[in-house]
Symmetry: C2
Subunit: 197 residues, 2 copies
């Protein structure tokens, strides 16, 4: 063994993240561990630590991949340049909720796994969340007096939809499934947009 060099460093990273996401999606975070990932990609734990700093580092890459697939889902489902902002925002919320339901375990990891190190989140990671907010913001800019106000409303609406989704899908609102959650976010967006004018 040793010095196999079957895969490049980047390939190993990619394989590890794919494997870890597969395990989380199928069996939840509690069934994820380093030995399991290593076995799954045909290496030993030591190799994982040659490629990732630690499990937190691996988890950040897992969440980055989830953010990418969320962004892709939104880009695919949400029509570009919808002149009706309220309709577009409802569509974003609907896609977000469906994504959360369909990728429940991965989405929960993204939501719950807090990297305590708030400030040393790398720029490439921050950008993945920033572009999600920009997607919401583009529909609010034409309706607001300043870009600062549009940014504020984008934060408020995104975080609110997120909160309803978190509590709703986790059974804290006495409702079950994605449909009633979406109904609540629709009402939120309608009332907020009415109040904005």
């Amino acid at each position: 063994m040793a010095r196999r060099k079957d895969h490049t460093r980047e390939e190993l990273k990619e394989m590890s993240v794919v494997s870890a996401r597969k395990i989380i999606a199928a069996q939840g975070l509690s069934n994820l561990n380093m030995r399991r990932i290593a076995g799954d990609i045909g290496y030993t734990v030591g190799t994982l630590y040659n490629v990732f700093e630690d499990m937190d580092d691996l988890m950040m890459h897992i969440n980055a991949a989830t953010l990418d697939s969320l962004y892709a889902a939104l880009e695919k489902d949400v029509p570009q340049n919808d002149k009706n902002a309220t309709r577009a925002l409802k569509r974003i919320a609907k896609t977000y909720i469906r994504f959360a339901e369909e990728n429940f375990n991965l989405w929960n990891v993204l939501t719950n796994y807090e990297q305590m190190t708030e400030e040393d989140r790398p720029d490439w990671y921050m950008e993945k969340t920033a572009r999600l907010f920009r997607m919401v913001e583009q529909y609010l800019t034409p309706l607001c007096k300043s870009s600062a106000k549009a940014e504020r409303s984008a934060k408020i609406l995104w975080a609110s939809v997120h909160g309803i989704c978190v509590l709703g899908l986790n059974g804290r609102l006495d409702i079950a499934g994605a449909a009633p959650v979406q109904s609540l976010t629709d009402t939120l967006i309608e009332n907020y947009m009415k109040g904005l004018k």
Copy 2:
């Protein structure tokens, strides 16, 4: 040793929860473990398992205590029978945000630690969250055509404020501290209530 009977079963439960909450508040969830709690209350791990089913059970009692102190904070700070619903709701949000900031570690455990067993949450635990929603609902009932509509708006507003608080205090909204978070929830509540009329 053995057969000390220094404390009743209920006293042991209480002591364990108090100790665990102290550890979480001071050093975070990652520094909490069964041996530490046991040592802190002057017993061994076996005793903890004589009183709690497992760590999940203990965690539920920890979160129950946090919900109680949150309710107490709200009861203390929010004026009863405020005729101005928007003002009262803003006050609830403000107190909630301050509680989350001041009890950050405990509040994060309450928020992030998901008991996967959704349906076997005991009734006495469910009631602790239900009464929080009722507190919000009381201000919405006079403004809504049906109690069902008031209930819906209570869920929407509570979950939205929660979402803004979660993302805001965890540094996901490019803002720092409780004040700007509260500013966002104020705008949310204002616009939502305007839209409601």
